[in-house]
């Protein structure tokens, strides 16, 4: 068998990203001003994004192990946005937290690289590698504030439970491999069909184990337990990063694996995911009601949103997946925006992460309050914000696939969720300020807020382009 150089064009973005991450790691040694690193990272990611559009990028390579298609590309756009926004909101924040180290940027880039690999994985081995790359980087990032007990605790819980979940994933992979003799997703599906493996307990077991591991990544109930603690303890910028990137990556692989490898046994995995989705929406929304820490509240909110997005997976239709992708993109914007405001409230000697810190914000900082209001309404799903469009697409796909009852449950929980999002608005607008809150602002933060706000409103009013993109990305 002659050694053929694989086609490297599809993997160009990942290569650029790897180089970038390594470059940042090295440059860290020479550059004193870490803001420069941030700038370099953003520029680098922008270059990577250009690589998305290179000719020949949309192809399969490494013998089917790496698939660069519209689907993965859409997620990679989300990851790129995620990393850019995270870097933008981190710059000043790291100073305030006194952890302004260059590794931070490198780690974020590595984590993103992991996500990109996950999104493109056509083989369970690649998938596992991407997932671990992402996870290991994120563990470190979660514990990035070394001197802070909460950050340590967050990292530890995330790490231990994450490894625990990885083990489940591996066990699931090994079963699938044992049954089908391959780790290639496409071929797994083929083997299942050819050998009539559908309904075999071992296959079911394998699916369950994989589903559990992925559910852990997207923080779906009951595998969400790490999320509130990790989100609360992690540096806020990383919380933002985690709530968008790994979650989107998780959805990307769920969509990829279950629709590509297990389409024959859809009925089975749908029965796994339906109760998970319902529980996720229920627990996420209900527990969020009684939170006092805004990061924790958004953690539960993030859990709840995973529940909605799961509906897209459950439908199993192209529209369903497109709606899920669309949702992830929109969620990236609105959640990043919300976290950006939270980060602004953090200043020297002021945590700014309890809900009562938002009292009277509209009086002291009307613009910040107004932006937060937009993000809160978007998270609730009130038009004309993007959040509504995201939910609408998902509900539409689910109803089209016949899951009207599931949608009714979803909309009711969505209505319940209004209560805790509105509570933030209520604190900001309907209470008087107790203490003066100083905002930590920076140009990059302003840019991040501008991007997110404009995106949330623009997608809310003119969703056609985004919807179209999501729809054509998934053939």
């Amino acid at each position: 068998m002659p050694l053929v150089m694989p086609d490297l064009r599809p993997i160009a973005p990942e290569i650029v990203m790897t180089c970038l991450a390594l470059f940042i790691l090295v440059a860290d040694v020479f550059i004193r001003r870490k803001e420069t690193l941030a700038l370099l990272s953003v520029l680098g990611v922008a270059v990577t994004a250009f690589a998305f559009a290179l000719p020949g990028v949309l192809n399969t390579t490494f013998g089917g192990m790496f698939i660069s298609d519209g689907y993965s590309m859409f997620f990679k756009i989300i990851f790129a946005l995620n990393v850019i926004l995270t870097v933008l909101i981190s710059v000043k924040y790291l100073d305030v937290e006194k952890v302004n180290f260059g590794e931070y940027y490198a780690l974020i880039l590595f984590a993103t690289l992991g996500m990109m690999i996950m999104a493109s994985a056509g083989d369970l081995i690649v998938l596992y590698l991407g997932l671990e790359l992402m996870a290991l980087s994120t563990y470190v990032l979660a514990g990035f504030i070394r001197y802070d007990m909460k950050s340590n605790e967050a990292a530890l819980k995330y790490f231990l439970l994450g490894s625990f979940a990885s083990a489940f994933l591996l066990y699931g992979i090994s079963l699938a491999y044992g049954l089908t003799g391959t780790t290639d997703l496409g071929r797994i599906a083929m083997t299942i069909e050819q050998q009539g493996l559908a309904g075999k307990p071992a296959l079911t077991m394998s699916m369950i184990l994989i589903a559990v591991a992925f559910s852990f990544k997207i923080a779906a109930v009951p595998f969400h337990m790490w999320a509130p603690d990790a989100y609360e303890g992690a540096p806020t910028s990383i919380t933002a990063f985690m709530s968008v990137g790994p979650k989107a990556a998780g959805f990307a692989v769920i969509g990829r694996v279950f629709l590509m490898a297990f389409p024959m046994v859809r009925a089975e995995w749908v029965t796994i995911f339906i109760p998970i989705a319902i529980l996720t929406m229920a627990v996420g929304n209900i527990v969020a009601l009684s939170q006092t820490n805004i990061k924790r509240m958004l953690a539960y909110s993030s859990i709840a949103h995973a529940g909605y997005a799961l509906l897209g997976i459950i439908t199993g239709t192209p529209d369903g997946l497109a709606s899920m992708m669309n949702y992830m993109l929109i969620y990236a914007f609105m959640n990043m925006g919300a976290f950006a405001v939270i980060i602004m409230l953090r200043s020297e000697g002021f945590k700014g992460d309890t809900i009562s810190d938002y009292e009277g914000l509209s009086k002291t900082h009307p613009l910040a309050a107004a932006l937060m209001l937009v993000f809160m309404f978007s998270l609730t799903g009130i038009p004309p914000t993007a959040g509504f469009m995201g939910k609408f697409y998902i509900f539409m796909a689910a109803i089209n696939a016949g899951y009207t009852w599931l949608v009714i449950i979803a909309v009711i929980f969505s209505a319940i969720s209004a209560y805790f999002y509105l509570r933030i608005v209520m604190y900001m607008y309907m209470k008087d300020p107790k203490e003066t809150v100083t905002l930590t602002t920076s140009p990059s933060m302003g840019l991040a807020l501008a991007i997110t706000t404009v995106a949330v409103l623009a997608i809310g009013m003119f969703p056609a382009k985004v919807v179209y993109l999501a729809r054509v990305a998934f053939p």
Partner: protein, 100 residues
């Protein structure tokens, strides 16, 4: 020749021991060890499958798992050390500052 099922049963047993250990032990290091045990259980089954299927992928994956486990161990220990600096304990029950 040892039948495949024996390997699988061994693998399942080791995995279960790992899970059980993870669930019952309170020492962070030991919990982490339990995870390692689970990973190795997977490795056993993967190698067995690989052998019986006469396919290399399984063993490739095992190599990756071993590598990743090493990385995991490094990171895990780093986190534990960071933690230990703040709070001189390796007991997970002491880590419940955040809850609810």
């Amino acid at each position: 020749m040892v039948p495949l099922n024996w390997y699988l049963m061994l693998s399942a047993a080791v995995f279960s021991i790992g899970v059980f250990g993870f669930l019952t032990r309170r020492n962070i290091i030991i919990m982490f060890m339990s995870v390692e045990l689970m990973l190795n259980a997977v490795n056993i089954s993967l190698v067995a499958f690989s052998h019986y299927l006469q396919d290399l992928r399984g063993q490739v994956l095992v190599f990756f798992i071993v590598t990743v486990a090493a990385a995991e161990a490094a990171i895990g220990l780093a986190i534990i050390i960071a933690l230990f600096r703040n709070k001189a304990t390796a007991h997970v029950d002491d880590m419940n500052e955040m809850k609810g």
